[in-house]
Amino acid sequence: MLNIALPKGRLGDKVYKLFSACGYDCSVMETDDRRLVLSDEGGKVQYLLVKPSDVAIYVEHGAADVGVVGKDVLLEGGNDVYELLDLGFGVCRMCVAAPVGFRADLSAPLRVATKYPAITKRYYAGKSREIEIIKLNGSIELAPILGLSDVIVDIVETGTTLKQNNLEVIETILPISARLIANKAAMRFKASNVNPLLAALQAKATEGEKA
């Protein structure tokens, strides 16, 4: 039996559709069930529905064998897992955004509001820029408007929210998308379960590229 951790919500639904098309279907998932652990009758697969930011933790500690998680969460958590495949959806960018017309004062530390302190720290350390991190949990766009920070580091999908708040992307840190991750021990003891899933998903991905 393969334990798969899926992020609850929109991304999870999309991932489930993909997995089910690869033969990892689970009829209980399709009913409007509130349970968090769902297994198919054949005993081939069990889905765990967890908070998106917790997927990598479940996989790292072996509570799930594989999982699907955004690259942003993976980089922020720095979890010790294998990253096996780029699933090619949930595509967005990790960006630095600032009020339109913003000019940095290089003589003072840059104040950065973000949900991603680890990624932010690493990025600016690489540029030898001194910063002050303001860790927020949501509505990051509000910070520069109220003067709480100079810039923000956040994920940008279409840029609509930024535009509406009179912000613009000034630097792109890296591209983000959904990744298939696996527990290190599961790759040894459950290779016969993990490898077919990986192969099926890879086949789907190349199919998608050709189409």
């Binding site: 990253e83 495949l85 290190k184 021990a185």
Partner: protein, 370 residues
């Protein structure tokens, strides 16, 4: 429950000590502290970079040791003839993997220093396998050779930074980002195709070896494969090859490790529980003669595994009456012990006691009762 895990851990350590000593490995004991500079200069050798430090009365910055191998090599004699075999059981101090807090961890390990020939390598590998086996349950030993990946990157003429970038992605088995990085670094297609395959180059030994042979482009790589082949042949001959897997995505730090490297996993633990390899370069760094190979077993990673192994308080709960022939009871109880069973003998049945078998004395011998 806690006590039982502790008892199992003690039992395991006792067995391992016996195993190492029976092959002539002598116990190496060390001081609790080392100068911090030792760890600062060899940061990339450590499992984690965080070190617990304090200032001694002379104003020197000291550290509670996060690692034992560095100390063994540092304090080893400069010159030696033949081979020196040591084992250790020490506490090391590291950041807990999940919380930002220092913890004391029991670690056991084996190091063989000096004239390391193929036999010495196979002996250490076999000890690693036997150590995993002693934990109980299913286990896997992943083996690789640093010379394979490093030889390939050397042939492609990559810089140290390029190598480090690619190594990080290969370790994560991150084939998609590895392909992007290779394209960005503008590596010649002949090498690019081969490097791209490293992330997925793992599996059963003979089959993976054949796939690897197709990638070999230099003497260093051929030599690495030769060593792996010889090791596999030897361990097959002694019937220990079933647990071996070959995984070229497993890469240790290039500035310390050359040659064979390996990592052990046991069923029930989500992380690496045993890690080791050939570290001749560390010996050179400390100006010591000879080569070295060794491994460490992380006992902290085994806590959960040992707790899960057979949740019985005893194998046999042996019930007798005080009116029974106690000499016969005594003899029967010790007969169980001689079979390797754990027995709890009592005249009153204890509450909340979990035994694999409950047996009652019938005047002659113990018979199973429901």
């Amino acid at each position: 429950m806690e006590q039982r895990t502790e008892a199992r851990r003690e039992q395991l350590m006792g067995r391992l000590r016996g195993l190492y000593e029976s092959l002539g490995y002598t116990r190496f004991s060390m001081r609790r502290f080392e100068e911090y500079a030792l760890y600062l200069e060899n940061k990339s050798f450590l499992k984690s970079e965080s070190v617990l430090t304090f200032t001694n009365p002379d104003g020197k910055l000291m550290a509670l040791k996060p690692d034992v191998t560095l100390s063994i090599v540092k304090h080893a004699r400069k010159e030696r003839e033949g081979v020196e075999k040591v084992y250790y059981k020490e506490s090391v101090y590291r950041l807990a993997p999940t919380a930002r807090e220092f913890v004391e961890i029991d670690q056991m390990g084996v190091e063989s220093l000096g004239a390391i020939d193929s036999y010495a390598v196979s002996e250490v590998l076999r000890l690693a396998i036997e150590s995993l086996r002693a934990v109980g349950g299913e286990y896997v030993l992943d083996v690789s050779h640093m010379g394979f990946a490093s030889g390939l990157m050397e042939a492609a003429g990559l810089t140290a930074e390029q190598k480090e970038r690619l190594f990080t992605l290969i370790r994560q088995k991150n084939a998609h980002e590895l392909a992007l990085a290779i394209a960005e670094e503008k590596i010649a297609p002949f090498y690019a195709d081969r490097i791209a395959k490293l992330a997925g180059l793992s599996g059963t030994f003979p089959e993976t070896l054949i796939r690897a042979e197709q990638l070999a482009v230099s003497d260093e790589m051929e030599q690495a494969l030769g060593e792996l082949r010889a090791l596999y042949t030897l361990l097959t001959a002694v019937g220990l090859a079933d647990c071996l897997q070959l995984d070229f995505s497993m890469l240790n730090d290039l500035s310390y490790y050359n040659g064979i490297v390996f990592q052990g996993y046991v069923q029930g633990s989500p992380r690496v529980v045993l890690s080791g390899g050939r570290y001749d370069l560390l010996m050179r760094r400390f100006g010591k003669e000879g080569d070295a190979i060794g491994f460490a077993l992380y006992l902290d990673e085994l806590t959960r595994v040992l707790a899960d192994r057979g949740a019985w308080d005893a194998d046999v709960l042996a019930l007798y009456h005080s009116t029974d022939d106690l000499a016969k009871v005594n003899a029967s109880v010790f007969a169980f012990v001689a079979q390797g069973l754990r027995v709890f003998a009592t005249s009153t049945r204890p509450k909340d006691f979990h035994a694999a078998k409950v047996m009652a004395f019938d005047g002659e011998t113990f018979k199973e009762v429901p």
